[in-house]
Symmetry: C2
Amino acid sequence: MSLSEFDLIDTYFKRPARRAAMGVGDDCALLAPAPGCQLAVSTDLLVEGRHFLSTVIPQRLGHKSLAVNLSDLAACGARPLAFTLSLAMPRADAGFIAGFAEGLWALADAHDCDLVGGDTSAGPLTISITVFGEVPTGQALLRDGARDGDDLWVSGTLGDARLALEIFRGHVAAPPGEAFERLRRAMEQPQPRVALGIALRGQASSAIDVSDGLAGDLGHLLRCSGVGARLELASIPRSADLAACPDTLQHECLLHGGDDYELLFTAPPARRAGVQQAAREAGVPVTRIGRIEAAPGLRLVDAGGHIVSFVAQAFDHFRE
Amino acid sequence: MSLSEFDLIDTYFKRPARRAAMGVGDDCALLAPAPGCQLAVSTDLLVEGRHFLSTVIPQRLGHKSLAVNLSDLAACGARPLAFTLSLAMPRADAGFIAGFAEGLWALADAHDCDLVGGDTSAGPLTISITVFGEVPTGQALLRDGARDGDDLWVSGTLGDARLALEIFRGHVAAPPGEAFERLRRAMEQPQPRVALGIALRGQASSAIDVSDGLAGDLGHLLRCSGVGARLELASIPRSADLAACPDTLQHECLLHGGDDYELLFTAPPARRAGVQQAAREAGVPVTRIGRIEAAPGLRLVDAGGHIVSFVAQAFDHFRE
């Protein structure tokens, strides 16, 4: 089945805006952040074979395309408001588009987020979303606020998405059905930590989302803040599935995994109760994994407090 | 020469924000529209071989990628504020990126528009820009305001971009050097009518930019407004280069050309002096090309007022 571009937009992507002043259907959408709020803006690009495998089901791809963007809002403590979607596809295939739209809308609705504009084209499968959120002026969680002595925290568990990728690549044997489906879901259907980001306003001193791997993203945060950190390898939270893997693989997935979409953040020790309260409100576990130190650089330590050497390497789309 | 993703962003695309509250370098940028203003948002996707030819020089591609987005702001009467850029490229080639950035920044600087975020990836050459502008609340030019009796206006001239494309495709012989360069520039380096859009606030009753061809875009405007129009073929402004072509080719380029990025707008006859004054302020010629009528549909008429039949067909990226 083939659809024209205008039919396609109307059928799957045109809905009345609920929170935007004006949504899809004119040259521009119109947005007005609530009084006292700034608009947080972020954009992510997903390319077939780079950010997702061609085996992903369309519903999960629709979900993930928006999820990775909402994760950036979460890392700023912003509440989702709206997004735009640009979609290049080899063909206007109704089966694919219907599934993609279903996954996309389910997540958008869960976060009360309007689709306010977009563009479609024939071309290699590529998805570009720009997302808008509201954050009270001066309350955004930034990367530059980590201070000597702050605790280093992370939400959820890390490394499952990378473990799933290694299984798909054939580098690691697939575990039995249930476990494989859990790992695959971590890779294909990440949950953006929006509620946690909002709850951490006023508690966290800095935050970033873990999209390129813990070591790399922590490196960004440390450089922006002009500090260093001691990271406790044994404290990094991991699933039972990953914990069952050999140490080398575990460490690779935990430190350089990418696609985790958990929040990595810092807060003064005096805020521990506040952070735990925020985590309970958001329904997301958080774990202390280290401490910010004045000396620049990232020091990875084992359970005995000894330095472990590792190569810090964020995921680079032009190298891998 | 190969560059890593982070070097690439830092070298070519990271500049201090001047008008955004916070620009590139955190999970989100922060924007705050001026008091009394709404934020106008639009997004356009450019795919190699669909929206530009591989022969385009990188400077012009950088210009055009932003220009087509600014044109959407112009059609709403919004003043540019900021944009995000997502860029997929087969390789991180410094020569290409430097040229692309040069063309992009030249146009961004001309419109005092901050780059506030982005993403890069390896992949087939694809450019996705989302642009943000400010417009006083309630003053945006929309598609739904055309009324029976309004004049129909268009800025500049139409059809040159399509004529250039037909030459590149080998369907039309190239004119001598000077003329070919003019036509090619119309296709590769369109000028968004930002100043005109702003000057038309309070004068125009509706507006749209001509990106998919006059007939198709006029059709959108008429459907949104619930009206029809009489369009005078002989009045449609065209360059001397296009006027020298056979009638059939002229009409195809004028009506179904696409890539014009002129403003098509309506205004009551009582506003003619105001429209002309807006055009003088903006330094862009405008021409009356017809009249809005109550009866739905588009009626194309020749110089004698007789109906000319034609097939209304907007450019469809999945059909052409």
